[in-house]
C-alpha cells in the first residue's frame, strides 16, 4: 500500500462530503455476491461472460471438426451443426463481447478513470448483473431443453426461425433464445444508464470531457449507441415471440409447410431484417469502439508517447458512433432492395471508413519513434491494429454492392467478420486483461505464459482465418455443414479446411494456458505495486492496490492534465499522472 496521491499546495475546497459509510459493506454476502461495488460487478460480469464464451469456443471446435473432416463425427448432424453456429455466433457477439466490454471493462474502468467512487446508481448496477446472469442461464438452458437450442443462425431470420424445419423452431429453443435476449437487453439498459450517466455526472474535479482517457470515450460512446440500438433488437424479439407463441403474423407470411397451410399470413420477413440490422450494425461498433479506446491507451502507455491527435480520435469515435446508425442495410443487399437504396448504403458504408482510417493512422503515428516496450499488452495491441486493418480492407470490398452480391453467404464473409469483429476485439480484450490485471489483483500475470499465449493466438488466428478468405473465394458457402453432391466444390480446398480446423484446435488450447495463467498468477504472480506500467491515468493512482470499495480513500483525486503526458521534456519522470500538478509543485511521489 503506497500513497500515490501527490499533496496539493493550492487551497482547494473539498469537492464533496463523501458518504464514506456507504462504501463499507456489511457482510460477506454484500461484499462478494450481492455487491454494489462496480469493481466486483465488473469481475462478476467478466467471469460470467468468459464462462459462456468458453461454451462458444467449444462449439467452434465442433464446427471446425465437422468442416475439416466431414462425415467423421456422427454426432454432428446437420441439425446439430446449425445449432452450433447459432449459439456460437450469438454468444460470441452478445453474451461475450458486449457483456465483457461494457459490463466488464465499463464497470471496472469508468469510475476509476473518471475519479468517481462508484457508479451513480450502484443498486441498479447490481441488478443489471443479476439480470444478465439470468439471461445467460436461460440461454444455457436451451441446450438441455427438449429439441435443443435454436438453429436459426445468429441472425434469427424469420420465417424459418420459428418453423418446424429449423432445430428448436417449434420446440423450446427459439423461445428461450428470444427470452434470453429480452432479458439481456433489460439488464444491459440498467447497466448502460449507469455507465453513461457516470461519465456525464460523476467525473471528479478537473476531469473535463477532453481530459478523459480514450478508453472512457470509447466505452461511453458505445454505451450510448447500445442504449439506442438495443431497443431495435428488443422490438424484433418481442414481435417474433408473439408470432411464435401467440400466433400473430408480424413477420410471418402465408406459408405452406409439408403440404399444410399454416395459420400465419401477411407478415413481412424483411421488416425483421430491418429491425435486426438496425441493431446489428451498430452492434459491430458497440464492440469496436471500446476496443478502439482501450487500444489507444495501451499503445500510448507502452510506447511512452502521447496519443497522436487526441482530439481527432475523440471526434472520430463520436462520428463513427453517429454514422453507424445509417448503414444497416448493407447487410441486406441481397434482400431485393431498390438499387437506389443499395447505392445510398454503400456510400455511407464507405464514408464510415474515413474516420476509421484516421484512427488507424493516428495509432501508427503514435507508435512512430515511440519508446516501444514489447510487453504482452503491447503485443496484443499491435496485433489488433494489423488484424483490424486486414478485416477492414475486406470490409471495403464487401461494402460495394457488386462485390458483395457474389460473395454474400460465402466463407469470405465469415473470414471478414471474424477478422474485424472476432479476432480484433478479442486481441484487445487479452491486451487489456494483461494490462489491468495488476490493478485488479495486485499481481502481474506471468510473462512467459503471456508471450506464449500471444504468439500462438496471433499466428494461430491468422492460420485459421487467412486461408478462409480463399476458401470463400473458391465459392464454399457459409452455414453448410458439408457439401454432399456438390463436394467437388470443396475438393480443391479440402486440405486447407483440415488445416484450418487443426489450427482452431491449437488456438483453443492456447486459451487454456491463458486461463491457467489467470488463476496461477493470483497466488504466484510477481507483486505489481500500484503502477507497474508507469501510466498516467487515474486508476493507477489509487491510494491502495487493489482499490477498495469507494476507490479513493478519504478524498477524491483532483485532475490537472490530460491522460497522455508521457515523456514530457523537463518532467522528473517520463510520465506525469493526471492528478499531478507539476510544474506547479514538483510531485512528491513515494512510489
Amino acid at each position: 500500500m503506497v500513497d500515490a496521491t501527490p499533496r496539493m499546495e493550492r487551497d482547494i475546497p473539498p469537492a464533496e462530503v463523501p458518504e464514506l459509510e456507504l462504501y463499507h459493506p456489511k457482510s460477506w454476502w454484500t461484499t462478494y455476491v450481492f455487491s454494489q461495488d462496480a469493481k466486483v460487478i465488473a469481475i462478476q460480469y467478466s467471469g460470467t461472460a468468459v464462462a459462456i464464451g468458453l461454451v462458444a469456443l467449444v462449439l467452434s471446435w465442433l464446427m471446425r471438426l465437422q468442416l475439416g473432416f466431414p462425415g467423421t463425427f456422427s454426432f454432428i448432424t446437420p441439425e446439430a451443426y446449425y445449432q452450433f453456429i447459432t449459439m456460437h455466433g450469438m454468444i460470441m457477439v452478445i453474451y461475450l463481447l458486449t457483456a465483457l466490454f461494457l459490463g466488464g471493462f465499463g464497470n471496472y474502468l469508468i469510475p476509476l478513470m473518471v475519479g468517481a467512487r462508484d457508479m451513480v446508481f450502484p443498486y441498479v448496477n447490481m441488478l443489471s448483473f443479476w439480470i444478465y446472469l439470468l439471461a445467460v442461464l436461460v440461454l444455457a438452458a436451451s441446450f438441455f431443453a427438449p429439441g435443443g437450442p435454436t438453429g436459426a443462425g445468429w441472425t434469427l431470420y424469420p420465417p424459418q426461425a420459428i418453423l418446424g424445419g429449423t432445430p428448436g423452431g417449434q420446440s423450446w429453443g427459439i423461445i428461450l433464445m428470444l427470452v434470453s435476449l429480452i432479458l439481456f437487453i433489460i439488464g444491459f439498459t440498467m447497466g448502460g444508464l449507469n455507465y453513461a450517466v457516470t461519465v456525464i455526472q460523476g467525473r471528479t474535479r478537473g476531469m473535463t470531457l477532453m481530459r478523459m482517457p480514450l478508453t472512457v470515450w470509447g466505452i461511453f460512446t458505445a454505451t450510448v449507441m447500445a442504449l439506442l440500438a438495443f431497443p431495435a433488437l428488443f422490438v424484433a424479439c418481442v414481435m417474433m415471440l408473439f408470432d411464435r407463441v401467440l400466433g400473430t403474423s408480424f413477420f410471418m407470411p402465408a406459408l405452406v409447410e409439408m403440404g399444410e397451410q399454416l395459420s400465419y399470413g401477411g407478415g413481412s420477413p424483411i421488416l425483421f431484417q430491418h429491425l435486426f440490422w438496425f441493431f446489428g450494425h451498430p452492434e459491430v461498433y458497440i464492440v469496436a469502439l471500446p476496443a478502439f479506446g482501450i487500444v489507444s491507451d495501451l499503445i500510448s502507455t507502452h510506447a511512452r508517447k502521447n496519443i497522436f491527435g487526441y482530439r481527432m480520435m475523440v471526434w472520430a469515435i463520436v462520428i463513427i458512433g453517429a454514422l453507424s446508425f445509417i448503414v444497416w442495410a448493407h447487410h441486406m443487399y441481397v434482400s431485393g432492395m431498390h438499387p437506389w437504396f443499395g447505392f445510398f448504403f454503400a456510400t455511407t458504408t464507405l464514408i464510415i471508413a474515413v474516420p476509421t482510417a484516421i484512427k488507424v493512422y493516428n495509432w501508427v503515428l503514435t507508435l512512430w519513434r515511440g519508446d516501444i516496450h514489447l510487453t504482452v499488452p503491447m503485443l496484443f495491441a499491435l496485433a489488433f491494429i494489423v488484424t483490424f486493418v486486414n478485416g477492414g480492407l475486406t470490409g471495403l470490398f464487401l461494402g460495394n454492392v457488386v462485390v458483395d452480391v457474389p460473395l454474400s453467404d460465402t466463407m469470405f464473409v465469415v473470414a471478414h467478420f471474424h477478422m474485424v469483429m472476432g479476432v480484433a476485439p478479442i486481441m484487445v480484450i487479452f491486451g487489456a486483461i494483461y494490462h489491468w490485471y495488476p490493478k485488479i489483483t495486485g499481481r502481474m500475470l506471468e510473462d512467459w505464459m503471456g508471450k506464449f499465449h500471444f504468439w500462438v493466438t496471433f499466428v494461430g488466428a491468422y492460420a485459421i482465418f487467412f486461408p478462409m478468405h480463399y476458401v470463400g473465394l473458391v465459392g464454399v458457402p457459409r452455414r453448410y455443414p458439408e457439401m454432399g453432391e456438390a463436394a467437388f466444390m470443396t475438393a480443391p480446398v479440402d486440405n486447407l479446411n483440415a488445416f484450418i480446423s487443426v489450427a482452431a484446435l491449437v488456438v483453443g488450447f492456447a486459451q487454456m494456458v491463458f486461463l491457467f495463467n489467470l488463476v496461477w498468477s493470483l497466488r504466484f504472480g510477481k507483486e505489481a505495486g500500484p503502477n507497474p506500467w508507469r501510466a498516467t491515468s487515474l486508476e493507477w493512482q489509487t491510494p491502495t492496490t487493489p482499490p477498495p470499495h469507494g476507490n479513493w480513500g478519504d478524498e477524491r483525486p483532483v485532475v490537472y492534465r490530460w491522460a497522455y503526458d508521457y515523456s514530457v521534456p523537463g518532467a522528473p519522470e517520463d510520465f506525469i499522472p493526471q492528478n499531478d500538478p507539476w510544474p506547479d509543485k514538483p510531485a512528491t511521489r513515494a512510489a
Binding site: 439498459t189 455526472q201 467525473r203 478537473g206 476531469m207 442504449l227 400466433g247 401477411g266 430491418h274 490530460w562
Partner: protein, 235 residues
C-alpha cells in the same frame, strides 16, 4: 424506418449540441491546472437523477419510435386491416391528460412547499392513471368481444402490443409515483428531496402522455393520412 431516423436525428443532434458545450474543441495537451470554471462533482449542475431520467427517456423514445417504424412499414401491405378504434380510447386519453395536469400541479405545489396540496395532486394523478389503465383493459376487452383478436390481423397485433408496452411503462411509473407518495407523507423528508421526486414523476408522465398521443394517432389510422399529406407537400 423513417420515424426512428427522425427520432435519432433529434437525439444525436442534441448530443452533439451538448458535446459542443463541453469544450470538445479544446486542446487538452496545451492546458494544465484545475479548471476553475469547472465542474464540481455534479458536472452539469443538474441533479444526477434528472440526467438519468433524460437518458432513460431517450431509450424509451427509441423503443416506441421503432414500434412506429415497424407499424408504418407493415401498414403498406395490401392485407392491412386496422381494427375499429374503441371509443373508450378517447376517454382514456382525456384521463391521462388529467393525470399529467395533476402532476404539473404537484410540481408547482412542491416548489411552493405546500405539502397538503402536493399530496392531493399526487393522489389525483395516481388515481387517474389507474383509471387510464383500467380503461385500456376495457378497450382490449371491447376489441376481443368484437372478434378482433390478437392473431387475426397484424394491425390487431400492433394494437395490443403497443398499448401493452405503453401500459407496462405506465405501471413502472406507478411504482415510482408510489415511492414519491411515501416521501410526501413522511414529514422527515426534506422539501427539496420531495420536489425532485415529484418533478421526475411529472417529466415521466408528460413523456408517456406524449408517447400515448403518438400511439393513439397511429392506431386511429390518421398517421396514414398525415403521411400522405407530407408526401404531397414534399412532391
Amino acid at each position: 424506418m423513417s420515424v426512428i431516423l427522425v427520432f435519432l436525428t433529434v437525439v444525436i443532434g442534441f448530443s452533439f449540441w451538448w458535446l459542443f458545450h463541453q469544450k470538445v474543441m479544446e486542446k487538452p495537451w496545451l492546458e494544465h491546472g484545475v479548471h476553475t470554471a469547472l465542474p464540481e462533482t455534479d458536472v452539469s449542475g443538474m441533479p444526477t437523477a434528472k440526467v438519468a431520467l433524460a437518458v432513460f427517456l431517450a431509450v424509451v423514445g427509441s423503443l416506441f419510435a421503432l414500434f412506429a417504424s415497424a407499424y408504418f412499414m407493415r401498414m403498406d401491405y395490401a392485407d392491412w386491416q386496422a381494427p375499429p378504434l374503441p371509443r373508450i380510447l378517447w376517454v382514456n386519453t382525456v384521463i391521462l391528460i388529467l393525470a399529467s395536469i395533476a402532476l404539473s400541479c404537484a410540481v408547482r405545489a412542491a416548489r411552493e412547499h405546500r405539502r397538503e396540496m402536493t399530496r392531493l395532486a399526487l393522489v389525483t394523478a395516481g388515481l387517474a392513471t389507474f383509471v387510464f389503465l383500467a380503461g385500456q383493459v376495457t378497450a382490449w376487452r371491447e376489441l376481443a368481444a368484437g372478434g378482433h383478436y390478437l392473431d387475426v390481423n397484424p394491425a390487431n397485433g400492433f394494437f395490443y402490443l403497443m398499448t401493452g408496452v405503453h401500459g407496462l411503462h405506465i405501471l413502472g411509473g406507478l411504482v415510482a409515483l408510489g415511492r414519491t407518495m411515501v416521501k410526501a407523507w413522511d414529514d422527515d423528508v426534506a422539501a427539496e428531496q420531495l420536489r425532485l421526486g415529484v418533478e421526475l414523476c411529472a417529466a415521466y408522465w408528460h413523456f408517456l402522455l406524449f408517447v400515448w398521443l403518438g400511439v393513439f394517432v397511429l392506431l386511429a389510422g390518421w398517421a396514414g393520412d398525415l403521411l400522405a399529406l407530407c408526401r404531397q407537400i414534399l412532391t
